[in-house]
Amino acid sequence: MLHAKTSSPSVSLAGLKRGASALLCGAFALAAIAALPAPAKADIDDWPGLKRTVFDNRDVIEEDGVVILDTPQVVQDAALVPITVRVPPEVKEPIKSLTIVIDKNPMPVLAKLTFGPAAGTGGERRFTTRARIDTFSHIRAVVETEDGKLHMTTKFIAAAGGCAAMNAKDPTTLTDGLGKMIVKTFEPALPSTPIWEGMVMLKHPNFSGLQINPNTGDFIAARFIYNADVKRDGELVFNMRAGSAISTNPNFRFTFGRGEENVLTVKMTDTDETVFEAHSEPSGT
């Protein structure tokens, strides 16, 4: 269901840096850059500042196996980089939150998920999406466990140009079908498995504010999904706050705890305050 757009408040891109690199666009040839050495600016360590502002300078336990980050070895398209965060089954306790940070992106926090009672335990928990990567950068997944401790894993991604890239190959079709939304559950082979997987996909350009309209040469105003609520049978799986670096046609896969009907309801809101809602069919009943 697509609610009518009622206002278009402006979104500040305050704090944007590296204006020139933002001009990098979705070049086919960019994939090849991935193989080359990182430019010097990637050596500047952004983490101390990010730790202070995003995590209040709290202690962060690094690489203790609580969280695993899967990123591609070779980035094929900097505007469409698949990212998966996993909490392995050995970790038994509930997870309070997950934050994904891309140090060098204009908006470093890709997404912060706060989990609810339907997030589930008793198996591997996963979250997968696709991101735009502006330049060579560290990417971090930080999980907050029930005891309030923060656990982090870090990877380096060699890719550039994603934030400014138009990832639709044909920019004239970018807003076609805007608002089309699909929510699915994937019933496991053994339906009694306590952790199930779901997916939501939304047809939405998710404009980062850094893309150039090829027809006018102007910047396209930022318009992206900044909030999502995912519920199973009415109970919260997670709330997500997202930045501008989620790829065009946002796509999220995630695990949730098995319920009775296993109906997933997803409500997403973009920065124009347009609300997108859809739900899955009952499953496993």
Binding site: T6, L13, L24, A27, A29, N167, K169, I212, N249
Partner: protein
């Protein structure tokens, strides 16, 4: 749901004022380290910058001038039709950007160049190959599409004051990619890339258009989105030679930067066309229809079929890039360089079918 008042926590304007912070995690942490700028002033600043890349070129420093020159040898595949076969490679300091086919057609009065390779130095060598064949003026430089290996030699022909010609989408496509194309190719080719720049088309072809060379005409036909959103095909009426640009790859794996369904549909149309010979964008000097199309059709269809099946099986994008298309691995050069990228593009397109 949405509230007009800015007193509400969900109002994006308020989020904006808080530097897009979420209650307990600022999305833009840098805002606290730097003087915040407004979006307007940011865009104004960038707006001015946006024009810079278009004017930018890589300065030629005599001291770094590479000793070696690319060999842009040409073969006359039909009377007055000359083709240089590019190497099956990514751009590199060794090949200096010689990786795509380029061609020229000599009329009674003038010459038309079709694609100019990937660097100024290759463009200059191509210009010399033309001068070895004819002293007639170069009236047109036609680019079959936006990719760097087909356009960066344009600059070598500026001195001839030709009309630069491309698909009506070519100008915009190049404008938004200029900086990225220059950066990437500078890195990949090195000093031999010096002097290369993007030359935008003077003439954007919107419908079937004829260009006269004296005694023979070229027919230009812009295509719907396929390899890219700015593919242009050219027929030399003098010899019935059809230049397909990168709508036809042979030996070199096809690269997808447009629409896989659009490309497959176009190949079905091309099957019905008649031409004495076709010239691929990457592949031998000349080939025959419809056989020339078959391997490419098979590859693209395999990628489309694999990706559709993997989407149906709920395999995510990242996993699909490790599987789809691999049945075709043996059939193509540069498979590992481009297949996963093609699959990624096809997946993003086909998941919405």
């Amino acid at each position: 749901m949405r509230e007009d008042s800015c007193g509400k926590i969900q109002c994006p304007s308020c989020l904006a004022r808080a530097n897009l912070a979420v209650p307990d995690a600022p999305l833009d942490a840098h805002a606290q380290q730097q003087r915040p700028i407004t979006r307007q002033s940011f865009l104004r600043g960038l707006g001015a910058l946006a024009f810079l890349p278009l004017l930018r070129s890589v300065p030629a420093f005599a001291k770094d001038e590479p000793e070696a020159k690319p060999d842009m040898a040409v073969q006359e595949i039909a009377p007055g039709v000359f083709v240089h076969q590019g190497q099956y490679a990514m751009q590199s300091p060794e090949n200096m950007g010689d990786m795509a086919n380029c061609a020229f057609v000599v009329g009674d009065e003038a010459v038309a160049v079709i694609d100019t390779s990937c660097s100024a130095i290759c463009g200059e060598a191509l210009r010399k190959s033309i001068a070895d064949v004819t002293s007639k003026p170069i009236r047109y430089v036609i680019n079959t599409h936006m990719h760097p290996d087909h356009v960066f030699g344009n600059v070598a022909f500026k001195q001839d004051a030709p009309t630069f010609v491309g698909h009506h989408n070519l100008k915009n496509a190049l404008q938004v990619r200029t900086d990225a194309y220059l950066t990437a190719n500078e890195r990949m080719i090195g000093p031999a890339f010096q002097g290369s720049e993007v030359i935008l088309p003077d003439l954007g072809v919107e419908k079937k258009t004829e260009l006269d060379l004296g005694g023979r005409a070229l027919i230009l036909e812009p295509q719907a989105t396929a390899h890219t959103n700015n593919d242009l095909i050219v027929t030399d009426t003098g010899t019935d030679t059809l230049f397909l640009g990168d709508l036809l790859f042979s030996v070199h794996i096809p690269t997808l930067d447009g629409s896989i369904t659009g490309w497959l549909a176009l190949l079905d149309d091309f099957e019905k066309r008649k031409a004495a010979r076709v010239v691929p964008g990457h592949g031998p000097h000349a080939m025959q229809l419809p056989g020339a199309l078959k391997p490419e059709q098979l590859y693209l269809q395999t990628v489309a079929d694999d990706v559709r099946k993997l989407i149906k099986d709920n395999l995510p994008l990242g996993e699909a890039t490790k599987i789809a298309g691999y049945r075709q691995e043996h059939a193509w050069k540069l498979f590992d360089d481009y297949n996963a990228r093609n699959v990624s593009a096809a997946y993003a397109e086909l998941e919405w079918e």
